[in-house]
Subunit: 249 residues, 2 copies
Protein backbone atom coordinates (compact mmCIF):
# COMPACT_ATOMS: atom_id res chain seq x y z
CA UNK A 1 0.00 0.00 0.00
CA UNK A 2 1.45 3.40 -0.94
CA UNK A 3 1.91 6.12 1.65
CA UNK A 4 -0.89 8.27 0.23
CA UNK A 5 -3.46 5.45 0.23
CA UNK A 6 -2.48 4.61 3.79
CA UNK A 7 -3.09 8.16 4.91
CA UNK A 8 -6.43 8.38 3.08
CA UNK A 9 -7.47 5.16 4.80
CA UNK A 10 -6.38 6.63 8.11
CA UNK A 11 -8.90 9.48 7.71
CA UNK A 12 -11.67 7.32 6.36
CA UNK A 13 -14.16 5.88 8.78
CA UNK A 14 -17.57 4.31 8.98
CA UNK A 15 -20.33 5.28 11.40
CA UNK A 16 -23.30 2.96 11.76
CA UNK A 17 -26.11 5.32 12.72
CA UNK A 18 -29.49 4.29 14.06
CA UNK A 19 -32.17 6.36 12.31
CA UNK A 20 -34.94 5.25 14.66
CA UNK A 21 -38.40 4.23 13.48
CA UNK A 22 -38.82 6.83 10.74
CA UNK A 23 -39.99 10.05 12.37
CA UNK A 24 -37.16 12.53 11.78
CA UNK A 25 -37.60 13.96 15.28
CA UNK A 26 -36.70 10.60 16.79
CA UNK A 27 -33.15 11.01 15.51
CA UNK A 28 -30.71 11.68 18.34
CA UNK A 29 -28.49 14.75 18.40
CA UNK A 30 -25.47 12.47 17.93
CA UNK A 31 -27.02 10.93 14.82
CA UNK A 32 -27.60 14.42 13.42
CA UNK A 33 -24.01 15.46 14.17
CA UNK A 34 -22.71 12.43 12.29
CA UNK A 35 -25.06 13.06 9.34
CA UNK A 36 -23.85 16.66 9.16
CA UNK A 37 -20.24 15.45 9.06
CA UNK A 38 -20.81 12.70 6.49
CA UNK A 39 -19.14 12.67 3.08
CA UNK A 40 -21.26 9.72 1.98
CA UNK A 41 -24.52 8.33 3.36
CA UNK A 42 -25.51 4.76 2.58
CA UNK A 43 -29.13 4.58 3.66
CA UNK A 44 -31.88 2.02 4.04
CA UNK A 45 -35.24 2.67 2.37
CA UNK A 46 -36.83 2.24 5.77
CA UNK A 47 -34.72 4.96 7.39
CA UNK A 48 -37.26 7.67 6.59
CA UNK A 49 -36.54 10.79 4.60
CA UNK A 50 -36.48 13.39 7.37
CA UNK A 51 -32.78 12.78 7.91
CA UNK A 52 -31.97 14.40 4.55
CA UNK A 53 -32.59 17.83 6.08
CA UNK A 54 -29.42 17.42 8.14
CA UNK A 55 -27.01 16.53 5.37
CA UNK A 56 -24.23 18.62 3.92
CA UNK A 57 -25.47 19.49 0.40
CA UNK A 58 -22.21 18.09 -0.96
CA UNK A 59 -22.69 14.71 0.70
CA UNK A 60 -23.15 11.78 -1.61
CA UNK A 61 -26.36 9.83 -1.06
CA UNK A 62 -26.52 6.13 -1.86
CA UNK A 63 -29.69 4.08 -1.40
CA UNK A 64 -28.76 0.54 -0.41
CA UNK A 65 -32.06 -0.10 1.22
CA UNK A 66 -33.81 -3.25 2.07
CA UNK A 67 -37.53 -3.23 1.71
CA UNK A 68 -39.31 -6.51 2.17
CA UNK A 69 -40.31 -8.05 -1.13
CA UNK A 70 -38.01 -5.94 -3.31
CA UNK A 71 -34.57 -6.83 -4.58
CA UNK A 72 -31.80 -5.01 -2.74
CA UNK A 73 -28.01 -5.03 -2.81
CA UNK A 74 -26.47 -8.04 -1.09
CA UNK A 75 -25.16 -7.41 2.40
CA UNK A 76 -21.55 -8.05 1.42
CA UNK A 77 -21.87 -5.55 -1.44
CA UNK A 78 -23.06 -2.88 1.00
CA UNK A 79 -20.09 -3.60 3.26
CA UNK A 80 -17.71 -3.51 0.31
CA UNK A 81 -19.14 -0.19 -0.87
CA UNK A 82 -18.80 1.40 2.59
CA UNK A 83 -15.21 0.18 2.86
CA UNK A 84 -14.26 1.42 -0.59
CA UNK A 85 -15.44 4.94 0.29
CA UNK A 86 -13.67 4.82 3.66
CA UNK A 87 -10.44 3.67 2.02
CA UNK A 88 -10.62 6.82 -0.08
CA UNK A 89 -10.63 8.86 3.14
CA UNK A 90 -14.36 9.47 3.31
CA UNK A 91 -16.50 9.57 6.43
CA UNK A 92 -19.21 7.08 5.56
CA UNK A 93 -22.46 7.14 7.50
CA UNK A 94 -24.31 3.85 7.19
CA UNK A 95 -27.83 4.89 8.18
CA UNK A 96 -29.98 2.03 9.39
CA UNK A 97 -33.64 2.06 10.37
CA UNK A 98 -34.11 1.50 14.09
CA UNK A 99 -31.01 0.59 16.10
CA UNK A 100 -27.91 -0.78 14.37
CA UNK A 101 -27.38 -3.51 17.01
CA UNK A 102 -30.85 -5.09 16.61
CA UNK A 103 -31.69 -7.13 13.49
CA UNK A 104 -29.64 -4.83 11.29
CA UNK A 105 -26.82 -7.23 10.38
CA UNK A 106 -24.33 -4.80 11.89
CA UNK A 107 -22.14 -7.73 12.92
CA UNK A 108 -21.33 -8.39 9.25
CA UNK A 109 -20.57 -4.74 8.50
CA UNK A 110 -18.48 -4.40 11.67
CA UNK A 111 -16.44 -7.48 10.87
CA UNK A 112 -15.80 -6.43 7.27
CA UNK A 113 -14.73 -2.93 8.32
CA UNK A 114 -12.41 -4.21 11.01
CA UNK A 115 -10.84 -6.71 8.65
CA UNK A 116 -10.15 -3.80 6.30
CA UNK A 117 -8.59 -1.79 9.13
CA UNK A 118 -11.32 0.88 9.08
CA UNK A 119 -12.44 2.58 12.29
CA UNK A 120 -16.12 2.04 13.01
CA UNK A 121 -18.40 3.78 15.46
CA UNK A 122 -21.99 2.84 16.34
CA UNK A 123 -24.57 5.50 17.19
CA UNK A 124 -27.58 3.87 18.85
CA UNK A 125 -31.10 4.58 17.62
CA UNK A 126 -34.64 4.20 18.90
CA UNK A 127 -35.61 0.66 18.08
CA UNK A 128 -39.04 -0.05 16.61
CA UNK A 129 -40.23 -2.09 19.60
CA UNK A 130 -39.97 0.73 22.12
CA UNK A 131 -41.25 3.25 19.59
CA UNK A 132 -44.29 1.00 19.08
CA UNK A 133 -44.83 0.80 22.84
CA UNK A 134 -44.65 4.60 23.08
CA UNK A 135 -47.10 4.94 20.18
CA UNK A 136 -49.70 2.75 21.85
CA UNK A 137 -49.02 4.28 25.29
CA UNK A 138 -48.04 1.01 26.96
CA UNK A 139 -45.08 -0.10 29.04
CA UNK A 140 -43.31 -3.26 27.86
CA UNK A 141 -42.44 -4.12 31.47
CA UNK A 142 -45.02 -4.20 34.24
CA UNK A 143 -44.24 -4.94 37.84
CA UNK A 144 -45.63 -8.33 38.88
CA UNK A 145 -46.90 -9.02 35.33
CA UNK A 146 -44.04 -8.79 32.83
CA UNK A 147 -40.43 -8.46 33.81
CA UNK A 148 -38.78 -10.03 30.76
CA UNK A 149 -38.90 -8.37 27.33
CA UNK A 150 -37.67 -10.21 24.27
CA UNK A 151 -37.08 -9.18 20.68
CA UNK A 152 -37.14 -11.74 17.88
CA UNK A 153 -37.29 -11.68 14.13
CA UNK A 154 -40.12 -13.48 12.37
CA UNK A 155 -38.22 -13.50 9.12
CA UNK A 156 -35.35 -15.79 8.20
CA UNK A 157 -32.95 -15.49 5.25
CA UNK A 158 -35.51 -17.33 3.10
CA UNK A 159 -38.45 -15.21 4.33
CA UNK A 160 -39.82 -18.02 6.47
CA UNK A 161 -40.19 -18.38 10.21
CA UNK A 162 -36.74 -19.16 11.63
CA UNK A 163 -36.50 -22.88 12.44
CA UNK A 164 -34.38 -22.52 15.56
CA UNK A 165 -36.67 -20.27 17.62
CA UNK A 166 -36.75 -20.98 21.36
CA UNK A 167 -40.48 -21.72 21.42
CA UNK A 168 -40.62 -22.28 25.18
CA UNK A 169 -39.16 -18.81 25.78
CA UNK A 170 -41.57 -17.29 23.27
CA UNK A 171 -44.63 -19.08 24.71
CA UNK A 172 -44.15 -17.36 28.08
CA UNK A 173 -47.05 -14.89 28.36
CA UNK A 174 -45.40 -13.19 31.34
CA UNK A 175 -42.70 -11.95 28.99
CA UNK A 176 -43.46 -9.21 26.51
CA UNK A 177 -42.41 -10.37 23.06
CA UNK A 178 -41.65 -7.96 20.21
CA UNK A 179 -41.63 -9.57 16.78
CA UNK A 180 -39.70 -7.70 14.11
CA UNK A 181 -40.55 -8.38 10.45
CA UNK A 182 -43.19 -10.91 11.44
CA UNK A 183 -46.30 -10.06 9.42
CA UNK A 184 -45.88 -12.98 7.00
CA UNK A 185 -44.98 -15.60 9.57
CA UNK A 186 -46.93 -14.58 12.68
CA UNK A 187 -49.83 -17.00 11.98
CA UNK A 188 -47.37 -19.92 11.83
CA UNK A 189 -45.61 -18.71 14.96
CA UNK A 190 -48.86 -18.38 16.89
CA UNK A 191 -49.88 -21.93 15.95
CA UNK A 192 -46.58 -23.23 17.33
CA UNK A 193 -46.81 -21.12 20.49
CA UNK A 194 -50.36 -22.27 21.23
CA UNK A 195 -49.18 -25.86 20.83
CA UNK A 196 -46.51 -24.98 23.41
CA UNK A 197 -49.08 -23.72 25.89
CA UNK A 198 -49.48 -20.01 25.12
CA UNK A 199 -53.09 -18.97 25.61
CA UNK A 200 -54.82 -18.06 22.35
CA UNK A 201 -56.30 -15.12 24.29
CA UNK A 202 -52.90 -13.54 25.04
CA UNK A 203 -53.23 -9.84 24.22
CA UNK A 204 -51.36 -8.58 21.15
CA UNK A 205 -50.91 -5.36 19.23
CA UNK A 206 -49.68 -4.82 15.71
CA UNK A 207 -48.30 -1.44 14.69
CA UNK A 208 -48.00 -1.02 10.93
CA UNK A 209 -45.94 1.72 9.26
CA UNK A 210 -44.71 3.17 12.52
CA UNK A 211 -43.26 6.64 12.22
CA UNK A 212 -45.25 7.56 9.13
CA UNK A 213 -48.61 9.22 8.61
CA UNK A 214 -50.03 5.83 7.68
CA UNK A 215 -49.48 4.36 11.17
CA UNK A 216 -52.16 1.75 11.80
CA UNK A 217 -52.67 0.06 15.17
CA UNK A 218 -54.53 -3.26 15.43
CA UNK A 219 -55.39 -4.84 18.78
CA UNK A 220 -56.68 -8.29 19.59
CA UNK A 221 -55.62 -11.62 20.99
CA UNK A 222 -52.67 -13.41 19.36
CA UNK A 223 -55.10 -15.72 17.60
CA UNK A 224 -57.31 -12.86 16.36
CA UNK A 225 -54.27 -11.03 15.05
CA UNK A 226 -52.98 -14.20 13.37
CA UNK A 227 -56.37 -14.70 11.70
CA UNK A 228 -56.41 -11.12 10.43
CA UNK A 229 -52.88 -11.47 9.06
CA UNK A 230 -53.81 -14.70 7.32
CA UNK A 231 -56.80 -13.00 5.69
CA UNK A 232 -55.12 -9.77 4.73
CA UNK A 233 -51.40 -9.00 4.60
CA UNK A 234 -50.70 -5.33 5.53
CA UNK A 235 -48.65 -3.35 3.01
CA UNK A 236 -46.34 -1.54 5.45
CA UNK A 237 -43.67 -2.89 7.79
CA UNK A 238 -45.16 -4.24 11.02
CA UNK A 239 -44.08 -4.58 14.63
CA UNK A 240 -46.08 -7.14 16.58
CA UNK A 241 -46.09 -7.13 20.39
CA UNK A 242 -47.74 -9.74 22.60
CA UNK A 243 -47.88 -10.68 26.26
CA UNK A 244 -49.80 -9.99 29.45
CA UNK A 245 -48.38 -6.45 29.74
CA UNK A 246 -50.43 -5.46 26.68
CA UNK A 247 -53.76 -5.99 28.42
CA UNK A 248 -55.62 -2.69 28.08
CA UNK A 249 -56.65 -0.61 31.09
CA UNK B 1 -65.25 20.23 39.92
CA UNK B 2 -65.55 23.95 39.14
CA UNK B 3 -65.39 25.22 35.57
CA UNK B 4 -61.98 26.85 36.04
CA UNK B 5 -60.38 23.73 37.50
CA UNK B 6 -61.83 21.70 34.66
CA UNK B 7 -60.28 23.97 32.07
CA UNK B 8 -56.89 24.01 33.85
CA UNK B 9 -56.98 20.23 33.89
CA UNK B 10 -57.85 20.23 30.19
CA UNK B 11 -54.58 22.04 29.39
CA UNK B 12 -52.48 20.04 31.79
CA UNK B 13 -50.68 17.01 30.49
CA UNK B 14 -47.89 14.63 31.30
CA UNK B 15 -45.15 13.53 28.91
CA UNK B 16 -43.00 10.57 29.88
CA UNK B 17 -39.70 11.31 28.15
CA UNK B 18 -36.85 8.85 27.70
CA UNK B 19 -33.58 10.62 28.47
CA UNK B 20 -31.43 7.83 27.12
CA UNK B 21 -28.32 6.50 28.85
CA UNK B 22 -26.99 9.84 30.13
CA UNK B 23 -25.04 11.47 27.29
CA UNK B 24 -26.99 14.62 26.47
CA UNK B 25 -26.41 14.08 22.74
CA UNK B 26 -28.36 10.82 22.88
CA UNK B 27 -31.54 12.77 23.57
CA UNK B 28 -33.87 12.74 20.58
CA UNK B 29 -35.12 15.92 18.96
CA UNK B 30 -38.62 15.11 20.20
CA UNK B 31 -37.37 14.79 23.77
CA UNK B 32 -35.70 18.19 23.44
CA UNK B 33 -38.89 19.75 22.04
CA UNK B 34 -40.87 18.45 25.01
CA UNK B 35 -38.23 19.67 27.49
CA UNK B 36 -38.34 23.11 25.90
CA UNK B 37 -42.13 23.17 26.29
CA UNK B 38 -42.20 21.89 29.87
CA UNK B 39 -43.55 23.92 32.77
CA UNK B 40 -42.30 21.35 35.26
CA UNK B 41 -39.70 18.61 34.91
CA UNK B 42 -39.70 15.69 37.33
CA UNK B 43 -36.38 14.00 36.72
CA UNK B 44 -34.50 10.89 37.78
CA UNK B 45 -31.00 11.26 39.17
CA UNK B 46 -29.85 8.85 36.50
CA UNK B 47 -31.20 10.97 33.65
CA UNK B 48 -27.93 12.91 33.28
CA UNK B 49 -27.59 16.67 33.56
CA UNK B 50 -27.09 17.58 29.93
CA UNK B 51 -30.84 17.86 29.45
CA UNK B 52 -30.91 21.00 31.61
CA UNK B 53 -29.44 23.01 28.73
CA UNK B 54 -32.73 22.63 26.87
CA UNK B 55 -35.10 23.84 29.55
CA UNK B 56 -37.06 27.05 29.65
CA UNK B 57 -35.37 29.05 32.45
CA UNK B 58 -38.78 29.44 34.06
CA UNK B 59 -39.42 25.72 34.19
CA UNK B 60 -39.66 24.19 37.62
CA UNK B 61 -37.19 21.38 38.27
CA UNK B 62 -38.04 18.61 40.71
CA UNK B 63 -35.62 15.77 41.46
CA UNK B 64 -37.60 12.60 42.16
CA UNK B 65 -34.75 10.36 41.27
CA UNK B 66 -34.07 6.86 42.15
CA UNK B 67 -30.46 6.00 42.71
CA UNK B 68 -29.75 2.53 43.96
CA UNK B 69 -29.00 2.50 47.66
CA UNK B 70 -30.43 5.94 48.43
CA UNK B 71 -33.89 6.77 49.69
CA UNK B 72 -36.15 8.21 47.02
CA UNK B 73 -39.77 9.28 46.81
CA UNK B 74 -42.21 6.41 46.56
CA UNK B 75 -43.53 5.67 43.09
CA UNK B 76 -47.09 6.64 44.00
CA UNK B 77 -45.86 9.96 45.39
CA UNK B 78 -44.13 10.71 42.08
CA UNK B 79 -47.33 9.92 40.20
CA UNK B 80 -49.36 12.04 42.58
CA UNK B 81 -46.97 14.97 42.19
CA UNK B 82 -47.08 14.79 38.39
CA UNK B 83 -50.88 14.67 38.45
CA UNK B 84 -51.19 17.58 40.86
CA UNK B 85 -49.12 19.78 38.54
CA UNK B 86 -51.08 18.64 35.49
CA UNK B 87 -54.38 19.36 37.24
CA UNK B 88 -53.16 22.93 37.64
CA UNK B 89 -52.78 23.14 33.86
CA UNK B 90 -49.04 22.49 33.68
CA UNK B 91 -47.20 20.54 31.04
CA UNK B 92 -45.28 18.06 33.16
CA UNK B 93 -42.29 16.28 31.67
CA UNK B 94 -41.44 13.15 33.60
CA UNK B 95 -37.86 12.55 32.49
CA UNK B 96 -36.71 8.96 32.91
CA UNK B 97 -33.29 7.51 32.28
CA UNK B 98 -33.24 5.17 29.28
CA UNK B 99 -36.60 4.37 27.69
CA UNK B 100 -39.86 4.89 29.62
CA UNK B 101 -41.31 1.55 28.53
CA UNK B 102 -38.44 -0.58 29.86
CA UNK B 103 -38.00 -1.10 33.62
CA UNK B 104 -39.13 2.43 34.35
CA UNK B 105 -42.46 1.68 36.08
CA UNK B 106 -44.24 3.72 33.44
CA UNK B 107 -47.25 1.41 33.73
CA UNK B 108 -47.97 2.78 37.21
CA UNK B 109 -47.58 6.41 36.12
CA UNK B 110 -49.70 5.82 33.01
CA UNK B 111 -52.48 4.21 35.00
CA UNK B 112 -52.52 6.93 37.65
CA UNK B 113 -52.61 9.68 35.04
CA UNK B 114 -55.40 8.02 33.06
CA UNK B 115 -57.46 7.46 36.19
CA UNK B 116 -57.10 11.19 36.88
CA UNK B 117 -58.22 12.02 33.34
CA UNK B 118 -54.86 13.50 32.34
CA UNK B 119 -53.53 13.13 28.79
CA UNK B 120 -50.21 11.28 28.68
CA UNK B 121 -47.70 10.96 25.87
CA UNK B 122 -44.61 8.72 25.80
CA UNK B 123 -41.44 9.83 24.00
CA UNK B 124 -39.16 6.84 23.49
CA UNK B 125 -35.50 6.99 24.51
CA UNK B 126 -32.32 5.07 23.81
CA UNK B 127 -32.34 2.20 26.25
CA UNK B 128 -29.16 1.30 28.12
CA UNK B 129 -28.82 -2.13 26.50
CA UNK B 130 -28.46 -0.86 22.95
CA UNK B 131 -26.32 2.07 24.12
CA UNK B 132 -24.03 -0.45 25.82
CA UNK B 133 -23.84 -2.52 22.64
CA UNK B 134 -22.93 0.60 20.66
CA UNK B 135 -20.29 1.54 23.24
CA UNK B 136 -18.56 -1.84 22.96
CA UNK B 137 -19.02 -1.93 19.18
CA UNK B 138 -21.02 -5.16 19.13
CA UNK B 139 -24.31 -6.22 17.59
CA UNK B 140 -26.83 -7.81 19.96
CA UNK B 141 -28.16 -9.95 17.12
CA UNK B 142 -25.92 -12.05 14.90
CA UNK B 143 -27.15 -14.11 12.00
CA UNK B 144 -26.88 -17.83 12.74
CA UNK B 145 -25.61 -17.13 16.29
CA UNK B 146 -28.09 -14.95 18.19
CA UNK B 147 -31.52 -14.09 16.92
CA UNK B 148 -33.31 -13.52 20.22
CA UNK B 149 -32.46 -10.58 22.49
CA UNK B 150 -33.95 -10.37 25.97
CA UNK B 151 -33.98 -7.68 28.61
CA UNK B 152 -34.44 -8.55 32.28
CA UNK B 153 -34.00 -6.81 35.59
CA UNK B 154 -31.69 -8.33 38.17
CA UNK B 155 -33.27 -6.27 40.90
CA UNK B 156 -36.59 -6.98 42.58
CA UNK B 157 -38.58 -4.66 44.86
CA UNK B 158 -36.53 -5.94 47.81
CA UNK B 159 -33.19 -5.56 45.97
CA UNK B 160 -32.85 -9.31 45.46
CA UNK B 161 -32.87 -11.45 42.35
CA UNK B 162 -36.50 -11.79 41.22
CA UNK B 163 -37.86 -15.19 42.20
CA UNK B 164 -40.00 -15.74 39.12
CA UNK B 165 -37.32 -15.46 36.43
CA UNK B 166 -37.71 -17.80 33.45
CA UNK B 167 -34.36 -19.52 34.00
CA UNK B 168 -34.67 -21.75 30.94
CA UNK B 169 -35.11 -18.72 28.71
CA UNK B 170 -32.18 -16.95 30.39
CA UNK B 171 -29.89 -20.01 30.18
CA UNK B 172 -30.09 -19.98 26.36
CA UNK B 173 -26.63 -18.88 25.18
CA UNK B 174 -27.94 -18.36 21.65
CA UNK B 175 -29.98 -15.44 22.95
CA UNK B 176 -28.29 -12.22 23.93
CA UNK B 177 -29.37 -11.31 27.44
CA UNK B 178 -29.20 -7.76 28.79
CA UNK B 179 -29.44 -7.52 32.56
CA UNK B 180 -30.55 -4.15 33.92
CA UNK B 181 -29.67 -3.29 37.54
CA UNK B 182 -27.94 -6.62 38.02
CA UNK B 183 -24.59 -5.86 39.63
CA UNK B 184 -25.64 -7.07 43.09
CA UNK B 185 -27.45 -10.20 41.97
CA UNK B 186 -25.51 -11.34 38.90
CA UNK B 187 -23.40 -13.88 40.83
CA UNK B 188 -26.57 -15.56 42.16
CA UNK B 189 -28.14 -15.47 38.69
CA UNK B 190 -25.07 -17.04 37.06
CA UNK B 191 -25.04 -19.87 39.62
CA UNK B 192 -28.68 -20.65 38.76
CA UNK B 193 -28.07 -20.41 35.02
CA UNK B 194 -25.07 -22.74 35.14
CA UNK B 195 -27.21 -25.22 37.09
CA UNK B 196 -29.69 -24.90 34.19
CA UNK B 197 -27.03 -25.74 31.61
CA UNK B 198 -25.55 -22.38 30.59
CA UNK B 199 -21.83 -22.77 29.94
CA UNK B 200 -19.68 -20.98 32.52
CA UNK B 201 -17.57 -19.85 29.57
CA UNK B 202 -20.42 -17.90 27.93
CA UNK B 203 -18.97 -14.50 26.95
CA UNK B 204 -20.17 -11.50 28.94
CA UNK B 205 -19.55 -7.78 29.11
CA UNK B 206 -20.30 -5.34 31.89
CA UNK B 207 -20.57 -1.63 31.13
CA UNK B 208 -20.47 0.53 34.24
CA UNK B 209 -21.54 4.20 34.31
CA UNK B 210 -22.53 4.25 30.67
CA UNK B 211 -22.89 7.72 29.22
CA UNK B 212 -20.51 9.35 31.69
CA UNK B 213 -16.79 10.02 31.61
CA UNK B 214 -16.34 7.20 34.10
CA UNK B 215 -17.55 4.52 31.67
CA UNK B 216 -15.77 1.27 32.50
CA UNK B 217 -16.02 -1.86 30.33
CA UNK B 218 -15.21 -5.30 31.78
CA UNK B 219 -15.10 -8.41 29.61
CA UNK B 220 -14.91 -12.05 30.59
CA UNK B 221 -16.97 -15.20 30.81
CA UNK B 222 -20.17 -15.10 32.85
CA UNK B 223 -18.38 -16.93 35.67
CA UNK B 224 -15.38 -14.58 35.59
CA UNK B 225 -17.66 -11.57 35.69
CA UNK B 226 -19.68 -13.09 38.55
CA UNK B 227 -16.45 -13.70 40.51
CA UNK B 228 -15.30 -10.12 39.97
CA UNK B 229 -18.68 -8.77 41.08
CA UNK B 230 -18.58 -10.95 44.17
CA UNK B 231 -15.12 -9.63 45.07
CA UNK B 232 -15.73 -5.99 44.28
CA UNK B 233 -19.03 -4.21 43.77
CA UNK B 234 -18.73 -1.37 41.20
CA UNK B 235 -19.93 2.03 42.37
CA UNK B 236 -21.81 3.10 39.21
CA UNK B 237 -24.92 1.66 37.57
CA UNK B 238 -24.12 -1.38 35.46
CA UNK B 239 -25.51 -3.03 32.33
CA UNK B 240 -24.48 -6.66 31.93
CA UNK B 241 -24.74 -8.42 28.56
CA UNK B 242 -24.08 -12.10 27.93
CA UNK B 243 -24.49 -14.61 25.14
CA UNK B 244 -22.68 -16.06 22.15
CA UNK B 245 -23.04 -12.81 20.16
CA UNK B 246 -20.58 -11.15 22.54
CA UNK B 247 -17.67 -13.37 21.52
CA UNK B 248 -14.91 -10.98 20.42
CA UNK B 249 -13.53 -10.99 16.89
Amino acid sequence: MSKSIESAAANGRITLVGAGPGDADLLTLRAIKRLQAADVVLYDDLAGEGFMAYLDPNAEMVAVGKRAGHPSPRQDEVSRLAISYALRGKHVVRLKAGDPTLFARADEELRAAREAGIAVEIVPGITTATAAAATIGASLTKRGVARRVQFVTGHDVDGRLPRDLDLAALADATATTCVYMGKATFPALVAQLIARGLSAATPAVMVESLGSEATNVQRGSVSELAARLTADRPAGPCMILYGAALEEG
